[in-house]
Symmetry: C2
């Protein structure tokens, strides 16, 4: 019988794969995770294998609250946290419970392209809100809201990745965060804040999340994918208690408990052992070095007219090509030259962005990053 | 800070809890699962922690195919299997991809009540199809289809639990299976066959699944919840390859891989070690004894006019009370007398079924089952 693959990525010999925004495979904590699993299954008794609490296991909720409190000064209440199978599952559930096909949703543009696929599976009508190299533009959000208001329409939510965003790595400055928060409060707008890269900062900690500025309007989505292991399919959301209650009360959870119950116990044990923060420190050191290696090589190798802002955190470098270039049209030549990337147009709800391309530096060693930049420079020249 | 619960069930001192259709907690394989996790994380290398293949990990798909082939004579092709986070998540995804709010779905009645909650979260218009003590009645399905056909409507699917069904434990006889399969083929009807109790038979193996009789029309839903551990939140579906492709291709999986990737690797290791079938043998011996203890006690203790068919498999005994009784109205008196159950009306999409109640025997020791039956007899007398 044919054996299907276990993993999502495909690594082609001879190709430097800038496509995959995945954690460094060598840093996946296999041994310590096995110890955490043993602890969860022996010390936790039968809880890890029983039908789970709908909101997620209390042990992991307590760990997440304490961890957020330690890093951000304020811990959410346990009633404000819902354990998810990652941001994708959280977005899917929020769409099921809060939207109907043909509802309008506002989405930062460019933004994480695979979130758009989930929204489209739910039949949503996506309206882009322009972002620049500092993130989403408050005036663009205000204009989109005013425009819909004139039509008597209310968007179901606004989706944004304001901190080391995918794909641009932009960090929304505090002033813009305050403006967005004020707009949301005034327009009774629900914001879905995708905040999975926050702890992976390389120069200075980022400004507070939108959730801290407009707590009644924001569902903040966190994940263990970037800071621990994506295969866990585990995350959390922090939201007003009534939103958490509605998520926990979904038929999906009533019939079986939280969707990642066993894994949640394993990760709770990992956190109890005190292993999460040292692991993140190690990731930050490695990824900072990779970021620096890629940026230095891009500065040396890219032809005039290209531009790449230094990513202050996260996994991605966002490259603007000279006017008139089309990164999708260029991709076959790039692959023939031994590198890959994701064309910029994928990240724009309206299909614009042909001038841009996304390079993920998380998965590649410094020497591969340097060689990849050289190859990209040659292709562009 | 308040600590929230880890698990879904609530066990009240002094109350014999017939409510919870959960596996025996003492038989949850904590130690062997820890060994399987260690194996998955060390021998499997980094695959268990990486972003997973959208269809589910190939290693688990291969195990599931081989296991089904061993027990049923025919193994599905790898392309026909999609790994789920259990039946609930599978139903949720199928609704997202195949339905719109106000679409019509046919549901066996009575049927697993929490599936109905998932369908309602998706705004479906549920139409009951009557079942008796042998399961769904083919003429009732034919009538429902003809009725909709006259209105120019097509149901999106028909949901049924034909084998040791929840709540009735009925086994649909082969003749009815053939009739249902023929109706589905004729009407181009998609059947969602919830088949999670099949391996837990106590007298004789059940007839083949509907999926074997009308493979192009059936999505068959399996689960590790009943035969291994519900907290894993892991299952599979077998379906025509184009349905599997559409499930795997959902935005939900594109953005992160299969929803239970890590757990899937742990269970694949458990199966590789050859531990699943001996575990199921043990469960069957324990549950058969419990079924016998409960049925004997009910026969001795229930007043005349009550009736309970012997469940040939699964977790449940379905009791019909004398004409005019209302099991929901009776519940407070039962709880005061130290037992609980689920009132029958919960399982009927149209709210009928007041005469029935469901007793789960999987979680309770034989002496508790006997004492519970005595208490029920006293309450009913």
């Amino acid at each position: 019988m044919k054996m299907l693959p276990d993993v999502q990525y495909e690594l082609r010999p001879g190709v430097i794969e800038f496509r995959w925004g995945h954690p460094d495979l060598a840093l996946l904590p296999t041994t310590s995770m096995a110890q955490a699993a043993a602890r969860a299954l022996t010390q936790g008794g039968i809880a890890a294998l029983s039908y789970g609490a709908e909101q997620g296991p209390g042990t992991l909720i307590a760990q997440v609250c304490a961890w957020l409190g330690r890093h951000e000064g304020t811990a959410p209440a346990a009633e404000q946290v819902y354990i998810t199978a990652g941001v994708s599952q959280a977005l899917d559930l929020l769409c099921t419970l809060w939207t109907q096909p043909r509802d309008i949703a506002l989405v930062e543009s460019p933004v994480y392209h695979l979130a758009l696929r989930i929204f489209r599976d739910h039949g949503l009508d996506l309206r882009p809100v322009a972002a620049d190299e500092q993130g989403v533009i408050p005036d663009a959000l205000a204009a989109a809201l005013a425009d819909l208001h004139r039509q008597g329409r209310q968007p179901r939510f606004f989706y944004t990745v304001p901190t080391f965003g995918n794909p641009t790595a932009a960090v929304l400055p505090l002033g813009r965060r305050q403006a967005i928060a004020a707009l949301a409060q005034k327009a009774d707008l629900l914001i879905l804040e995708d905040d999975v890269y926050r702890r992976l900062w390389y120069d200075a900690p980022p400004p507070p999340p939108l959730a801290a500025l407009a707590p009644a309007n924001v569902v903040r989505l966190g994940s263990f994918s970037k800071v621990l292991a994506p295969g866990l399919r585990l995350g959390w959301l922090v939201a007003p208690a009534e939103i958490v209650r509605r998520c926990a009360g979904a038929g999906l959870n009533d019939s079986g408990g939280g969707v990642s119950h066993f894994t949640a116990h394993v990760v709770a044990a990992f956190m109890e052992l005190g292993w999460l923060d040292p692991h993140i420190e190690e990731l930050r050191a490695v990824y900072r070095q990779r970021r620096d290696a890629l940026l230095a090589a891009l500065a040396a190798e890219l032809p005039p007219g290209c531009r790449c802002q230094t990513p202050a955190g996260g996994f991605f470098a966002w490259v603007r090509l000279p006017e008139g270039c089309d990164s999708a049209a260029l991709l076959p030549a790039a692959e023939a030259a031994g590198l890959s990337y994701v064309p910029g147009a994928r990240f724009f709800a309206d299909g614009s962005g042909a001038r841009y391309l996304r390079l993920a530096f998380s998965l590649l060693a410094p020497e591969e990053l340097a060689e990849g930049a050289r190859r990209l420079g040659r292709v562009l020249s």
